[in-house]
Symmetry: C2
Subunit: 197 residues, 2 copies
DNA sequence: GGATCCATGTAACGGGTTACATGATTCG
DNA sequence: CGAATCATGTAACCCGTTACATGGATCC
């Protein structure tokens, strides 16, 4: 039954899945994929294949039950639910895993860092694109916020993470706007500083 | 000589290393480790073993030259330098790789999302810890900024990424402060809303 | 009736992590 | 004179990604 070797050490994604199951609904891999995409995706975003892998492991560890459901007009599916042991495991992880600042992993910032190797105008263009993407991310967040505020059950903790996202997007957009002003435009490139024609 | 099969597709870390070499200095794996730790670490942070692996690959691809240097009082080392082909490769990557918003990958936010499963007081404690860590990160950033502003050669693009980091840290700290006010403290837990003692 | 989307998964690869290994130098 | 740190790297593992596979329902 998978027990017997102490608590297995699991990757964060396993706890993300377990946490999702801990809201009480029985869910399939597909459900979990959708659920993460529409909620924690901004700060945690496993591939679906990873979700399936974690589900299998959680079941083997005794942290989740698996139940096969036959369907006629669709592929059969497996529904998972958290067990008491699984519940304990998430709680332990939540309580005991250390708080630490992880790296942002932004290839965009990496590119800005090396932007002296770019042809004139390219950083500007890419930053504009980045700004736009951040803009629609912010829109999405604000839309979700409206739904949350309109709903009866506020789910405060998820809402907190949303507000983090809103703050993040706003600060990134501010940064873009301020930075783009500083960037030398094509015309001014190569002029000596202070030489106002 | 590693050429001949078109441009190989390389992971971002390869370009991070190549970009570092493109500042012109000959560097060892150790040097690169130190250099990334003290600059791009906030948004890109390869393990040193990964750096060594990428260096080998860059050399095989003809993007970097390798030169073994014997040392008496220390282990021998290999110094790498970017080749013209390597220079072209970074430039292509910088120009052509798409701009996209990657996920933040924050286990801390993941934990906040599931905080309803935590015992009373635990989120508060962890958020305080997070805030503190963000605080010292901001300190570090501001310290670096002072150095940059005092220096003669401003390296504008790296400075821009630093300012992104400063904005990020500030917004995260703001979020902590605002959120911690909203969090029910131990005493108030379980009270009906609106009951002002 | 062809294309796209919904819904379910599996398989293989590799980037990146953790752990290991070594020896000089400096510090208490 | 033992411990910690500097400085160099190697080896193995596994998480997570990309690509593949299947078939009904729905849209144009």
């Amino acid at each position: 039954m998978g027990a017997g070797s102490g608590e297995p050490k699991l990757p964060p994604t396993a706890y993300a899945v377990l946490g999702m199951l801990s809201f009480g609904r029985e869910m399939s891999g597909y459900d979990l994929q959708k659920a993460t995409e529409s909620s924690v995706r901004f700060f945690w975003s496993p591939a679906k294949s990873q979700i399936y892998a974690e589900l299998r492991r959680l079941q083997e560890a005794g942290y989740a039950t698996e139940r096969e459901v036959a369907q006629t007009d669709r592929p059969d599916k497996r529904l998972y639910a958290v067990t008491p042991a699984g519940r304990t495991a998430v709680e332990r992880w939540l309580a005991e895993s250390p708080v630490e600042l992880e790296t942002i992993r932004s290839t965009f910032l990496l590119k800005v860092f090396f932007a002296h190797l770019m042809a004139p105008g390219v950083v500007e263009k890419q930053m504009a694109e980045y700004r736009e993407q951040m803009g629609s991310l912010l829109e999405t967040f604000l839309e979700i916020e409206r739904h949350i505020l309109a709903a009866d059950n506020p789910t405060p903790y998820p809402y907190m993470t949303l507000k983090f996202g809103i703050g993040y997007a706003r600060s990134a957009i501010d940064w873009c706007d301020r930075t783009m002003k500083e960037l030398p435009t094509g015309r001014e490139r190569g002029r000596k500083k202070g030489g106002k024609r």
